[in-house]
Protein backbone atom coordinates (compact mmCIF):
# COMPACT_ATOMS: atom_id res chain seq x y z
CA UNK A 1 0.00 0.00 0.00
CA UNK A 2 1.25 3.46 -0.83
CA UNK A 3 -1.53 5.45 0.89
CA UNK A 4 -1.37 6.40 4.58
CA UNK A 5 -4.70 7.89 5.73
CA UNK A 6 -4.54 10.30 8.70
CA UNK A 7 -8.24 11.21 8.43
CA UNK A 8 -7.33 14.71 7.28
CA UNK A 9 -5.12 13.81 4.38
CA UNK A 10 -3.62 10.73 2.74
CA UNK A 11 0.04 10.28 2.01
CA UNK A 12 1.06 8.40 -1.14
CA UNK A 13 4.28 7.36 -2.85
CA UNK A 14 6.52 7.42 0.19
CA UNK A 15 5.27 10.86 1.18
CA UNK A 16 5.94 12.69 -2.06
CA UNK A 17 2.22 13.09 -2.81
CA UNK A 18 -0.61 13.95 -0.37
CA UNK A 19 -4.29 14.17 -1.10
CA UNK A 20 -6.77 16.16 0.99
CA UNK A 21 -10.27 15.04 2.04
CA UNK A 22 -11.65 16.20 -1.31
CA UNK A 23 -8.91 14.39 -3.17
CA UNK A 24 -7.04 17.59 -4.01
CA UNK A 25 -3.36 16.72 -4.50
CA UNK A 26 -0.17 18.35 -3.33
CA UNK A 27 3.45 17.41 -3.98
CA UNK A 28 5.87 17.50 -1.07
CA UNK A 29 9.52 18.27 -1.68
CA UNK A 30 12.27 19.19 0.75
CA UNK A 31 13.97 22.38 1.85
CA UNK A 32 17.48 22.16 3.28
CA UNK A 33 17.79 23.82 6.69
CA UNK A 34 21.50 24.37 6.12
CA UNK A 35 21.75 25.81 2.60
CA UNK A 36 18.13 26.61 1.70
CA UNK A 37 18.00 24.40 -1.41
CA UNK A 38 14.48 23.38 -2.38
CA UNK A 39 14.07 20.19 -4.38
CA UNK A 40 11.59 17.57 -5.51
CA UNK A 41 11.34 14.70 -4.96
CA UNK A 42 12.21 14.52 -1.29
CA UNK A 43 15.53 12.85 -0.53
CA UNK A 44 17.36 11.82 2.64
CA UNK A 45 20.24 14.21 2.00
CA UNK A 46 20.23 17.67 0.43
CA UNK A 47 21.18 17.34 -3.26
CA UNK A 48 22.96 20.70 -3.02
CA UNK A 49 25.17 20.23 0.07
CA UNK A 50 24.65 16.73 1.46
CA UNK A 51 23.06 17.90 4.73
CA UNK A 52 20.56 15.62 6.46
CA UNK A 53 18.72 18.54 8.08
CA UNK A 54 15.69 18.86 5.88
CA UNK A 55 12.09 20.02 6.23
CA UNK A 56 9.06 19.18 4.14
CA UNK A 57 8.33 21.70 1.40
CA UNK A 58 4.74 21.68 0.11
CA UNK A 59 4.91 22.76 -3.53
CA UNK A 60 2.58 24.98 -5.53
CA UNK A 61 0.20 23.08 -7.78
CA UNK A 62 0.71 25.09 -10.93
CA UNK A 63 3.58 25.77 -13.26
CA UNK A 64 4.68 25.87 -16.88
CA UNK A 65 6.32 23.28 -19.13
CA UNK A 66 10.06 24.08 -19.32
CA UNK A 67 10.76 21.25 -21.74
CA UNK A 68 9.04 18.03 -22.78
CA UNK A 69 9.22 15.02 -25.02
CA UNK A 70 6.73 12.56 -26.42
CA UNK A 71 7.83 8.97 -25.79
CA UNK A 72 6.87 6.69 -28.70
CA UNK A 73 9.45 4.00 -27.92
CA UNK A 74 12.36 3.58 -25.58
CA UNK A 75 10.52 3.45 -22.26
CA UNK A 76 10.62 0.58 -19.82
CA UNK A 77 6.88 0.26 -19.33
CA UNK A 78 5.03 3.06 -17.53
CA UNK A 79 2.38 2.63 -14.82
CA UNK A 80 0.86 5.95 -15.98
CA UNK A 81 0.24 5.60 -19.72
CA UNK A 82 0.96 3.60 -22.84
CA UNK A 83 3.08 5.16 -25.60
CA UNK A 84 2.87 7.64 -27.11
CA UNK A 85 2.79 9.69 -23.91
CA UNK A 86 4.17 13.11 -23.02
CA UNK A 87 6.55 13.79 -20.14
CA UNK A 88 7.97 17.13 -19.05
CA UNK A 89 10.14 19.16 -16.76
CA UNK A 90 7.76 21.66 -15.19
CA UNK A 91 8.86 24.88 -13.54
CA UNK A 92 6.42 25.40 -10.67
CA UNK A 93 5.34 28.88 -9.66
CA UNK A 94 7.92 28.93 -6.83
CA UNK A 95 10.76 27.98 -9.21
CA UNK A 96 11.02 24.31 -8.15
CA UNK A 97 11.48 21.89 -11.06
CA UNK A 98 9.33 18.76 -11.18
CA UNK A 99 9.69 15.88 -13.63
CA UNK A 100 6.24 14.44 -14.40
CA UNK A 101 3.95 12.95 -17.02
CA UNK A 102 1.54 15.25 -18.86
CA UNK A 103 -2.00 13.86 -19.11
CA UNK A 104 -5.40 15.18 -20.13
CA UNK A 105 -4.43 16.23 -23.64
CA UNK A 106 -3.11 14.93 -26.95
CA UNK A 107 0.58 14.28 -26.17
CA UNK A 108 1.56 15.94 -29.44
CA UNK A 109 -0.15 19.17 -28.35
CA UNK A 110 2.27 19.77 -25.44
CA UNK A 111 4.50 22.83 -25.91
CA UNK A 112 7.24 24.66 -24.03
CA UNK A 113 5.60 27.37 -21.93
CA UNK A 114 2.26 25.54 -21.66
CA UNK A 115 0.47 26.24 -18.35
CA UNK A 116 -0.20 23.09 -16.34
CA UNK A 117 -1.54 22.06 -12.94
CA UNK A 118 -1.12 19.01 -10.72
CA UNK A 119 -3.57 16.13 -10.97
CA UNK A 120 -3.69 12.53 -9.78
CA UNK A 121 -3.72 9.44 -11.96
CA UNK A 122 -4.86 5.94 -11.09
CA UNK A 123 -1.87 3.73 -11.77
CA UNK A 124 -2.15 0.87 -14.23
CA UNK A 125 -2.02 -2.57 -12.66
CA UNK A 126 1.45 -3.20 -11.26
CA UNK A 127 3.24 -5.36 -8.73
CA UNK A 128 4.90 -2.38 -7.01
CA UNK A 129 1.92 -1.58 -4.75
CA UNK A 130 1.28 1.79 -6.39
CA UNK A 131 -2.41 2.66 -6.83
CA UNK A 132 -2.33 6.42 -7.21
CA UNK A 133 0.34 8.65 -8.72
CA UNK A 134 0.56 12.17 -10.13
CA UNK A 135 0.79 14.00 -13.42
CA UNK A 136 0.22 17.51 -14.72
CA UNK A 137 -2.55 18.53 -17.11
CA UNK A 138 -3.23 21.67 -19.12
CA UNK A 139 -4.83 24.40 -17.00
CA UNK A 140 -5.28 28.07 -17.68
CA UNK A 141 -6.39 31.20 -15.86
CA UNK A 142 -8.45 30.86 -12.68
CA UNK A 143 -8.54 27.08 -12.85
CA UNK A 144 -4.76 27.10 -12.84
CA UNK A 145 -4.55 29.28 -9.74
CA UNK A 146 -6.99 27.33 -7.54
CA UNK A 147 -5.41 26.25 -4.29
CA UNK A 148 -1.88 27.25 -5.26
Amino acid sequence: MTGVDTGRETSHLGGRLITGPDGDPRLIGIRCLDCGTGAFPATDYCPGCGSGSLEDLPLPRAGTVWTYTVVYMGGYGSIVADPPYATAFIELDDGTFVHAPITGCDPESVRVGMEVALTTVEAKENDLGITLTYAFEPAVGRERGVGS
Partner: protein, 382 residues
Amino acid sequence: MSDKVAVLGAGVTLFERRATRRLDEMASEAVSLALRDAGLSYGDIEVAFVANAYRSGSAPIVFYKLSRTGIPITHIDIACASGTRSIQLAGHLIASGAYQTCLVVGVEIMPGGMVPWPIDPETVSLYHEMMFDTVTGLLTMPGAYAYKAVRYMHDFGATPEQFAQVAVKNHRNSCLNPNAMYRKEFSIEDVLGSRMICYPLTLFQCCANSNGAAAVVLSSETRARRHTSRPVLLSGWGETSMRFDPVDPVESHLSEGDTVAAAAGAYEMSGTGPGDADLAQVHDAFSAAEVLQIEALGLCGKGEGAAFTAAGETEIGGSVPVNTDGGLMGCGHPVGASGCRMVAEVFRQLKGQAGARQVEGARLGLVQNSGLGASNVLVLER
Protein backbone atom coordinates in the same frame (compact mmCIF):
# COMPACT_ATOMS: atom_id res chain seq x y z
CA MET B 1 58.18 11.50 -8.51
CA SER B 2 55.87 12.41 -11.30
CA ASP B 3 55.95 12.05 -15.04
CA LYS B 4 53.80 12.95 -18.02
CA VAL B 5 51.47 10.29 -19.40
CA ALA B 6 51.80 8.89 -22.92
CA VAL B 7 49.54 6.74 -25.07
CA LEU B 8 51.84 4.12 -26.54
CA GLY B 9 49.47 1.97 -28.55
CA ALA B 10 45.84 1.19 -29.34
CA GLY B 11 43.82 -1.59 -30.94
CA VAL B 12 40.17 -1.88 -31.95
CA THR B 13 38.27 -4.97 -33.09
CA LEU B 14 35.43 -5.09 -35.56
CA PHE B 15 32.26 -3.79 -33.88
CA GLU B 16 29.47 -6.17 -34.90
CA ARG B 17 25.71 -6.27 -34.43
CA ARG B 18 25.64 -9.91 -33.40
CA ALA B 19 28.57 -11.11 -31.32
CA THR B 20 30.29 -13.91 -33.24
CA ARG B 21 32.99 -14.19 -30.58
CA ARG B 22 33.10 -14.35 -26.79
CA LEU B 23 34.17 -11.61 -24.39
CA ASP B 24 37.66 -13.07 -23.83
CA GLU B 25 38.24 -13.57 -27.55
CA MET B 26 37.39 -9.98 -28.48
CA ALA B 27 39.40 -8.57 -25.57
CA SER B 28 42.43 -10.71 -26.47
CA GLU B 29 42.36 -9.46 -30.05
CA ALA B 30 42.17 -5.79 -29.00
CA VAL B 31 44.96 -6.26 -26.45
CA SER B 32 47.21 -8.05 -28.96
CA LEU B 33 46.73 -5.25 -31.49
CA ALA B 34 47.42 -2.55 -28.88
CA LEU B 35 50.52 -4.28 -27.46
CA ARG B 36 51.97 -4.86 -30.94
CA ASP B 37 51.23 -1.20 -31.78
CA ALA B 38 53.03 -0.14 -28.57
CA GLY B 39 55.97 -2.46 -29.11
CA LEU B 40 55.36 -4.12 -25.73
CA SER B 41 54.43 -7.60 -24.58
CA TYR B 42 51.89 -8.42 -21.86
CA GLY B 43 54.81 -9.11 -19.52
CA ASP B 44 55.76 -5.41 -19.71
CA ILE B 45 52.36 -4.33 -18.31
CA GLU B 46 52.41 -3.36 -14.62
CA VAL B 47 48.70 -2.73 -13.97
CA ALA B 48 45.53 -3.41 -16.00
CA PHE B 49 41.88 -2.34 -16.08
CA VAL B 50 38.92 -3.81 -17.93
CA ALA B 51 36.05 -1.40 -18.71
CA ASN B 52 32.76 -3.28 -18.96
CA ALA B 53 29.16 -2.67 -17.91
CA TYR B 54 27.30 -5.97 -18.28
CA ARG B 55 29.56 -8.83 -17.16
CA SER B 56 30.68 -9.08 -13.56
CA GLY B 57 33.98 -10.90 -13.15
CA SER B 58 35.35 -9.38 -16.35
CA ALA B 59 38.85 -8.81 -14.95
CA PRO B 60 39.73 -12.49 -14.45
CA ILE B 61 37.81 -13.46 -17.60
CA VAL B 62 39.86 -11.09 -19.73
CA PHE B 63 43.28 -11.01 -18.09
CA TYR B 64 43.81 -14.60 -16.90
CA LYS B 65 43.34 -15.67 -20.49
CA LEU B 66 46.21 -13.39 -21.56
CA SER B 67 48.73 -14.33 -18.88
CA ARG B 68 49.08 -14.75 -15.12
CA THR B 69 51.82 -12.24 -14.37
CA GLY B 70 50.48 -11.35 -10.92
CA ILE B 71 49.79 -7.68 -11.70
CA PRO B 72 46.81 -5.88 -10.12
CA ILE B 73 43.73 -6.21 -12.36
CA THR B 74 40.48 -4.29 -11.80
CA HIS B 75 37.03 -4.05 -13.38
CA ILE B 76 35.74 -0.46 -13.80
CA ASP B 77 32.08 0.33 -14.45
CA ILE B 78 30.41 3.68 -14.88
CA ALA B 79 28.27 2.48 -17.79
CA CYS B 80 29.06 4.16 -21.13
CA ALA B 81 31.93 6.21 -19.61
CA SER B 82 33.80 3.17 -18.22
CA GLY B 83 36.52 3.19 -20.90
CA THR B 84 37.65 6.77 -20.43
CA ARG B 85 37.27 6.52 -16.65
CA SER B 86 39.70 3.57 -16.70
CA ILE B 87 42.14 5.52 -18.88
CA GLN B 88 41.97 8.49 -16.52
CA LEU B 89 42.65 6.26 -13.52
CA ALA B 90 45.60 4.81 -15.42
CA GLY B 91 46.74 8.38 -16.04
CA HIS B 92 46.64 9.17 -12.32
CA LEU B 93 48.61 6.01 -11.50
CA ILE B 94 51.31 6.76 -14.08
CA ALA B 95 51.52 10.49 -13.30
CA SER B 96 51.99 9.66 -9.62
CA GLY B 97 54.97 7.47 -10.44
CA ALA B 98 53.32 4.36 -8.99
CA TYR B 99 53.44 2.49 -12.31
CA GLN B 100 55.24 2.93 -15.64
CA THR B 101 52.91 0.95 -17.93
CA CYS B 102 49.16 0.33 -17.88
CA LEU B 103 46.79 -1.60 -20.11
CA VAL B 104 43.12 -0.64 -20.45
CA VAL B 105 40.73 -2.82 -22.42
CA GLY B 106 37.07 -2.01 -22.92
CA VAL B 107 34.92 -4.92 -24.04
CA GLU B 108 31.22 -5.63 -24.20
CA ILE B 109 28.76 -8.25 -25.33
CA MET B 110 25.50 -6.32 -25.19
CA PRO B 111 22.28 -7.92 -24.01
CA GLY B 112 19.72 -8.17 -26.83
CA GLY B 113 17.19 -5.44 -27.63
CA MET B 114 17.13 -1.99 -26.10
CA VAL B 115 19.91 -1.09 -23.67
CA PRO B 116 18.65 -2.58 -20.40
CA TRP B 117 18.13 -0.10 -17.62
CA PRO B 118 20.70 -0.84 -14.92
CA ILE B 119 18.18 -0.58 -12.08
CA ASP B 120 15.27 -2.83 -11.26
CA PRO B 121 12.76 -3.05 -8.40
CA GLU B 122 14.33 -6.23 -7.03
CA THR B 123 17.55 -4.41 -6.16
CA VAL B 124 16.72 -0.68 -6.03
CA SER B 125 14.15 0.92 -3.70
CA LEU B 126 11.02 2.21 -5.35
CA TYR B 127 11.53 5.79 -4.24
CA HIS B 128 15.07 6.11 -5.50
CA GLU B 129 14.52 8.92 -8.01
CA MET B 130 15.85 6.85 -10.92
CA MET B 131 13.63 3.90 -10.02
CA PHE B 132 10.39 5.87 -9.56
CA ASP B 133 11.01 7.87 -12.74
CA THR B 134 11.57 4.63 -14.62
CA VAL B 135 8.30 2.98 -13.55
CA THR B 136 6.32 6.16 -14.25
CA GLY B 137 7.77 6.34 -17.76
CA LEU B 138 9.73 9.54 -17.16
CA LEU B 139 13.23 8.17 -17.46
CA THR B 140 14.27 6.85 -20.84
CA MET B 141 17.70 7.15 -22.41
CA PRO B 142 16.60 8.88 -25.63
CA GLY B 143 14.18 11.01 -23.59
CA ALA B 144 17.01 12.54 -21.58
CA TYR B 145 18.44 14.06 -24.78
CA ALA B 146 15.03 14.68 -26.33
CA TYR B 147 14.29 17.07 -23.43
CA LYS B 148 17.48 18.96 -24.11
CA ALA B 149 16.81 19.03 -27.85
CA VAL B 150 13.28 20.44 -27.39
CA ARG B 151 14.46 23.22 -25.08
CA TYR B 152 17.40 23.93 -27.38
CA MET B 153 15.07 24.33 -30.37
CA HIS B 154 12.89 26.66 -28.27
CA ASP B 155 15.80 28.79 -27.07
CA PHE B 156 17.95 28.95 -30.19
CA GLY B 157 15.61 28.26 -33.12
CA ALA B 158 17.41 25.06 -34.09
CA THR B 159 15.56 22.57 -36.29
CA PRO B 160 15.16 18.77 -36.28
CA GLU B 161 16.95 18.81 -39.68
CA GLN B 162 20.06 20.31 -38.06
CA PHE B 163 20.14 17.59 -35.38
CA ALA B 164 19.61 14.93 -38.05
CA GLN B 165 22.71 16.18 -39.85
CA VAL B 166 24.82 14.68 -37.02
CA ALA B 167 23.55 11.21 -37.91
CA VAL B 168 24.11 11.76 -41.64
CA LYS B 169 27.72 12.86 -41.01
CA ASN B 170 28.62 10.11 -38.54
CA HIS B 171 27.14 7.34 -40.68
CA ARG B 172 29.05 8.72 -43.68
CA ASN B 173 32.29 8.75 -41.64
CA SER B 174 31.67 5.15 -40.62
CA CYS B 175 31.99 4.14 -44.29
CA LEU B 176 35.69 5.09 -43.97
CA ASN B 177 36.18 2.86 -40.90
CA PRO B 178 36.49 -0.88 -41.58
CA ASN B 179 35.80 -1.63 -37.87
CA ALA B 180 32.48 0.26 -37.76
CA MET B 181 29.23 -1.69 -37.52
CA TYR B 182 27.13 0.31 -40.03
CA ARG B 183 29.46 1.44 -42.84
CA LYS B 184 26.32 2.64 -44.63
CA GLU B 185 25.26 6.11 -45.75
CA PHE B 186 21.86 7.51 -44.82
CA SER B 187 20.28 10.60 -46.36
CA ILE B 188 18.71 13.30 -44.23
CA GLU B 189 15.33 12.03 -45.49
CA ASP B 190 16.21 8.51 -44.29
CA VAL B 191 17.14 9.87 -40.86
CA LEU B 192 14.11 12.14 -40.41
CA GLY B 193 11.78 9.55 -41.92
CA SER B 194 12.81 6.71 -39.59
CA ARG B 195 10.51 5.84 -36.67
CA MET B 196 10.02 8.50 -34.00
CA ILE B 197 11.51 7.29 -30.70
CA CYS B 198 11.27 10.32 -28.39
CA TYR B 199 10.33 13.59 -30.10
CA PRO B 200 12.33 15.04 -31.88
CA LEU B 201 14.73 12.06 -32.01
CA THR B 202 14.06 9.44 -34.66
CA LEU B 203 15.47 5.91 -34.71
CA PHE B 204 18.49 6.77 -36.87
CA GLN B 205 19.41 9.57 -34.43
CA CYS B 206 19.86 7.01 -31.62
CA CYS B 207 22.98 4.86 -31.52
CA ALA B 208 22.51 1.11 -31.71
CA ASN B 209 24.05 -1.62 -29.56
CA SER B 210 27.08 -3.38 -30.96
CA ASN B 211 29.64 -5.86 -29.66
CA GLY B 212 33.38 -5.35 -29.68
CA ALA B 213 36.55 -4.40 -27.84
CA ALA B 214 39.14 -1.63 -27.84
CA ALA B 215 42.41 -1.49 -25.93
CA VAL B 216 44.82 1.32 -25.08
CA VAL B 217 48.37 0.98 -23.71
CA LEU B 218 49.57 3.89 -21.58
CA SER B 219 53.00 4.57 -20.16
CA SER B 220 55.09 7.29 -18.59
CA GLU B 221 56.56 9.71 -21.11
CA THR B 222 60.02 8.52 -20.06
CA ARG B 223 59.13 4.92 -20.89
CA ALA B 224 57.45 6.00 -24.15
CA ARG B 225 60.61 7.75 -25.33
CA ARG B 226 62.37 4.37 -25.38
CA HIS B 227 60.00 3.45 -28.20
CA THR B 228 59.36 6.70 -30.07
CA SER B 229 60.88 10.17 -30.31
CA ARG B 230 57.45 11.78 -30.75
CA PRO B 231 55.01 10.13 -28.34
CA VAL B 232 51.31 10.96 -28.16
CA LEU B 233 50.73 12.50 -24.73
CA LEU B 234 47.59 12.33 -22.63
CA SER B 235 48.28 15.88 -21.51
CA GLY B 236 45.11 16.61 -19.58
CA TRP B 237 41.86 15.15 -18.37
CA GLY B 238 38.85 16.13 -16.32
CA GLU B 239 36.24 13.91 -14.70
CA THR B 240 32.83 14.72 -13.23
CA SER B 241 29.50 13.15 -12.37
CA MET B 242 26.04 14.70 -12.15
CA ARG B 243 26.02 17.83 -10.02
CA PHE B 244 23.04 19.55 -8.44
CA ASP B 245 23.33 23.31 -8.74
CA PRO B 246 21.10 24.92 -6.08
CA VAL B 247 21.36 28.30 -7.85
CA ASP B 248 20.26 26.85 -11.18
CA PRO B 249 18.48 23.50 -10.77
CA VAL B 250 17.94 23.31 -14.54
CA GLU B 251 21.69 23.02 -14.89
CA SER B 252 21.60 19.79 -12.90
CA HIS B 253 19.08 18.07 -15.14
CA LEU B 254 19.12 19.66 -18.50
CA SER B 255 22.43 21.16 -19.55
CA GLU B 256 25.91 19.77 -20.10
CA GLY B 257 27.41 21.41 -17.01
CA ASP B 258 29.19 18.16 -16.19
CA THR B 259 31.09 18.33 -19.50
CA VAL B 260 31.80 22.05 -19.09
CA ALA B 261 33.42 21.30 -15.72
CA ALA B 262 35.32 18.26 -17.02
CA ALA B 263 36.58 20.25 -20.03
CA ALA B 264 37.73 23.11 -17.79
CA GLY B 265 39.80 20.62 -15.79
CA ALA B 266 41.25 19.01 -18.90
CA TYR B 267 42.15 22.33 -20.52
CA GLU B 268 43.74 23.65 -17.32
CA MET B 269 45.81 20.51 -16.78
CA SER B 270 47.07 20.51 -20.39
CA GLY B 271 47.47 24.29 -20.72
CA THR B 272 45.31 24.20 -23.83
CA GLY B 273 41.91 25.49 -24.89
CA PRO B 274 39.16 24.58 -27.34
CA GLY B 275 40.80 26.71 -30.05
CA ASP B 276 43.75 24.28 -30.06
CA ALA B 277 41.65 21.25 -31.04
CA ASP B 278 42.16 19.81 -34.51
CA LEU B 279 39.48 17.16 -33.99
CA ALA B 280 37.18 15.70 -31.32
CA GLN B 281 35.48 12.43 -30.48
CA VAL B 282 32.30 13.15 -28.49
CA HIS B 283 29.53 11.03 -27.00
CA ASP B 284 26.96 10.95 -29.83
CA ALA B 285 24.60 8.41 -28.26
CA PHE B 286 21.87 10.65 -29.69
CA SER B 287 22.23 13.28 -32.43
CA ALA B 288 21.37 16.18 -30.11
CA ALA B 289 24.03 15.00 -27.66
CA GLU B 290 26.82 15.72 -30.14
CA VAL B 291 25.53 19.26 -30.69
CA LEU B 292 25.38 19.94 -26.96
CA GLN B 293 28.74 18.33 -26.24
CA ILE B 294 30.66 20.31 -28.88
CA GLU B 295 29.24 23.47 -27.30
CA ALA B 296 30.15 22.29 -23.80
CA LEU B 297 33.72 21.67 -25.01
CA GLY B 298 33.78 25.23 -26.35
CA LEU B 299 34.31 24.19 -30.00
CA CYS B 300 31.56 26.69 -30.88
CA GLY B 301 29.45 29.16 -28.93
CA LYS B 302 26.37 28.30 -26.88
CA GLY B 303 23.38 27.93 -29.16
CA GLU B 304 25.57 27.72 -32.26
CA GLY B 305 26.25 23.98 -32.34
CA ALA B 306 23.32 22.95 -34.52
CA ALA B 307 24.05 25.56 -37.21
CA PHE B 308 27.81 24.84 -36.90
CA THR B 309 27.08 21.17 -37.62
CA ALA B 310 24.66 21.88 -40.47
CA ALA B 311 27.29 24.17 -42.07
CA GLY B 312 29.71 21.23 -42.27
CA GLU B 313 32.24 22.58 -39.76
CA THR B 314 32.40 19.18 -37.99
CA GLU B 315 32.82 17.14 -41.18
CA ILE B 316 36.20 15.63 -42.05
CA GLY B 317 37.68 18.60 -43.91
CA GLY B 318 35.71 21.10 -41.78
CA SER B 319 37.26 23.40 -39.19
CA VAL B 320 37.05 20.82 -36.37
CA PRO B 321 36.09 17.30 -37.48
CA VAL B 322 33.96 15.44 -34.92
CA ASN B 323 33.56 11.66 -34.66
CA THR B 324 35.81 10.90 -37.62
CA ASP B 325 35.47 7.12 -37.16
CA GLY B 326 31.67 7.25 -37.24
CA GLY B 327 31.18 7.74 -33.50
CA LEU B 328 28.65 5.76 -31.51
CA MET B 329 26.15 6.35 -34.31
CA GLY B 330 28.25 4.67 -37.01
CA CYS B 331 30.30 2.20 -34.96
CA GLY B 332 27.48 1.09 -32.68
CA HIS B 333 27.88 1.17 -28.92
CA PRO B 334 29.47 -1.72 -27.03
CA VAL B 335 29.09 0.22 -23.77
CA GLY B 336 32.36 -0.59 -21.99
CA ALA B 337 34.44 -0.44 -25.18
CA SER B 338 33.27 2.89 -26.59
CA GLY B 339 35.46 5.20 -24.49
CA CYS B 340 38.57 3.20 -25.41
CA ARG B 341 37.49 3.26 -29.07
CA MET B 342 37.26 7.07 -28.92
CA VAL B 343 40.77 7.42 -27.45
CA ALA B 344 42.11 4.90 -29.98
CA GLU B 345 40.71 7.00 -32.85
CA VAL B 346 42.28 10.24 -31.64
CA PHE B 347 45.58 8.37 -31.11
CA ARG B 348 45.40 6.99 -34.66
CA GLN B 349 44.67 10.47 -36.07
CA LEU B 350 47.56 12.09 -34.18
CA LYS B 351 49.89 9.37 -35.47
CA GLY B 352 48.75 10.16 -39.03
CA GLN B 353 47.56 6.56 -39.45
CA ALA B 354 43.83 7.11 -39.94
CA GLY B 355 43.86 6.30 -43.65
CA ALA B 356 40.91 7.58 -45.68
CA ARG B 357 39.49 9.49 -42.72
CA GLN B 358 42.78 11.19 -41.75
CA VAL B 359 42.49 14.80 -40.57
CA GLU B 360 45.47 16.49 -42.20
CA GLY B 361 48.05 17.81 -39.76
CA ALA B 362 46.14 16.76 -36.63
CA ARG B 363 48.23 17.58 -33.56
CA LEU B 364 45.67 17.90 -30.75
CA GLY B 365 42.46 15.94 -30.26
CA LEU B 366 39.73 15.88 -27.63
CA VAL B 367 37.65 13.00 -26.28
CA GLN B 368 34.34 13.50 -24.44
CA ASN B 369 32.61 10.40 -23.09
CA SER B 370 29.38 10.34 -21.03
CA GLY B 371 27.89 7.64 -18.79
CA LEU B 372 24.89 7.84 -16.47
CA GLY B 373 25.48 11.47 -15.57
CA ALA B 374 29.28 11.23 -15.57
CA SER B 375 31.32 13.09 -18.16
CA ASN B 376 35.00 12.58 -18.93
CA VAL B 377 37.08 14.88 -21.13
CA LEU B 378 40.62 14.05 -22.31
CA VAL B 379 43.22 16.02 -24.26
CA LEU B 380 45.69 14.11 -26.44
CA GLU B 381 48.60 15.88 -28.13
CA ARG B 382 51.55 15.01 -30.27
